[in-house]
Symmetry: C2
């Protein structure tokens, strides 16, 4: 068995993969594959309805919000958010905490004015800025709740006087959130929710339809809401596997239970990084991510050898992003704590060898 | 075994489904699922490269064209085509042959002027208009090569003085085409190429980048070309299954071989429809589709009973689209001729019973 610390598309629960594989051959015993049935069939409509219901249950989504399963990844939402929420003469406020936040705000500039209200770019995004004022005249305020590349995470969300929009691609379903604090939440599935190919959007209906802009049907949230994510053929299999993963999460006790596991995994790993003289963390302690743990070797010349040791131990996906270097251990919901212990053991073995 | 005549997402080859299921559990023996590996891994890069290569081989794609695997279905392309090809003061020419052609031209109206150069709407799209002139000052000319709902198909493509854009969602890879006649071809995967969740685009590079419009990154063909379909995380599994399906098609002898099978299937079914007094075809004979065979009962009161008989015989997906009624037998590449014979037998049995 491999210990999959990949940053995404990331690890999925074993039992989900097994069920998904069965569905590819024969879905629920109907004699057809999930890949070759109509999205308008009662069988798939039940899958989509259950997926939406599980999102609402797991995150306690209040009345007045719609839950959508779309395509195109978070990168498509970078454009759809301002397309739908930012009038041409309006202004959007962005918190710049990493490459993805930066890409999001760049897309918004095509649609209106953008104000970067705080940024940690000058420090290579090693912390989350905290002293800023969200302008009350902004159309919305955008945050990226977890920064996959740098390994930082917002552990508290600001109170926003305007609708808050959050890219939660890499930490959704990893801990409880209060959806009512947000105008819109989006997340590519391929970290904690399912395989690549679908994107979750949770949107407060009353913030939509106010820009006066004509929006192509596929990019128009109200059209997607009206169509129940089926304005056109949805990504059937990606939604099916997401539903299975959400079902798995519910059976585990939901986001409250998984948060405890995630903290236990992250804490164990950060303790080792701080303790082990061969390694060090790179981000501000208060802003460390519970999803993507970044660290480097105190002596950069050791890095190649440690990657080789990981390879020997079937530890995969720990090479850091090219813009940061070092290591990144992504410890998403589905990663068992036993894998974290294998990594910690490897770090200790490596320290022994290099005393 | 079911006989799957569904219009889409449609039938896929059995061996492809088996391989896909194996990949969901353990992809190529690497100890990880295809659903949980990085899209930047050498394993997935090889899948994408092979998928692109197979498209080029099977369709004889000439130099100067790019092959993309995107997300969002053909409905997204309805907007991306004019976004990328139609200047604000320009004009696009559309042939209106069905609901999908109509949706495509409606989206184009958001971006510039649209001229419907011919339409069969007044006759409920039962034929393909043929006498028309394509304006030489249009930015492009758009056709829908097969009309899934009505069961009509263009069996010859017009010569166009301007770049020809084709929605081939429901007949791509069903017969040889001359890609050089087209500026852009697009197709949702879920009929002849793979599962829902990816969209094939084949585009002549030299027609791009001429509108002067600023286009969000995800909607900009040049950005997708430059990123090799990996500007962001692509729909890994849908591309993988598409690659497997294209490999299957190549092993069968490619589009020339499958065209013969498709004609044999369609001819057998149309002969029965024309012969059997209880059924009749609805479309102009010359424009009958080799992919979606539409027909009705001569006595509409028989339709319910025939659907029940189909159900008994494990024939699924033959109910006609609500806007046409009657029956629609979709006979995509993966449908074996034995299934067509089962349907024909059912029609003959039904005629015997109702003499």
């Amino acid at each position: 068995m491999k210990h999959n610390f990949g940053a995404g598309p990331g690890i999925l629960p074993h039992e989900v993969l097994k069920q998904a594989a069965e569905g590819v051959v024969d879905f629920n015993g109907i004699g057809l594959s999930i890949l070759e049935i109509s999205h308008r069939s009662p069988e798939f409509e039940a899958v989509l309805a259950e997926a939406v219901k599980l999102v609402k249950e797991l995150l306690n989504v209040p009345e007045g919000y719609s839950v959508l399963f779309l395509q195109g990844g978070a990168s498509t939402q970078f454009a759809l958010v301002p397309f739908n929420l930012l009038p041409q003469d309006g202004k959007a406020a962005y918190l710049e905490t990493g490459v993805w936040a930066n890409k999001a705000l760049k897309e918004a500039k095509n649609f209106g004015n953008v104000e970067i209200i705080a940024s940690s770019k000058a420090d290579n995004f090693t912390y989350i800025p905290k002293d800023y004022t969200i302008p009350a005249d902004a159309s919305y305020f955008h945050i990226t709740t977890n920064n996959t590349i740098y390994g930082t995470q917002l552990h508290e969300y600001p109170k926003s006087p305007v609708p808050m929009v959050a890219d939660m691609s890499s930490d959704i379903f990893s801990h409880p959130i209060n959806v009512a604090d947000f105008g819109l939440i989006y997340a590519g599935a391929q970290k904690n929710m399912g395989p690549a190919g679908t994107t979750l959007v949770i949107v407060k209906n009353e913030i939509l339809g106010k820009t006066g802009r004509t929006i192509p049907a596929m990019f128009d949230y109200p059209t997607q809401v009206e169509g129940g994510s089926m304005y056109n053929t949805p990504p059937v299999f990606a939604i099916y596997v997401s539903m299975l993963t959400l079902r798995w999460l519910k059976a585990k006790g939901g986001v409250e239970a998984i948060e405890k596991e995630n903290k236990a995994k992250a804490d164990a790993l950060y303790v080792e990084i701080d303790r082990n003289p061969l390694f060090k963390a790179v981000c501000a302690k208060d802003d460390r991510s519970y999803m993507n743990v970044t660290f480097v070797c105190t002596n950069p010349e050791h890095e190649k050898a440690f990657l080789e040791l990981c390879d020997e131990k079937d530890i995969v996906g720990v090479k850091g992003h090219r813009s940061v270097g070092g290591f990144r251990a992504s410890i998403y919901n589905a990663l068992p704590i036993t894998s974290v212990h294998v990594l910690i053991d490897a770090m200790q073995e490596f320290a022994e060898k290099n005393k």
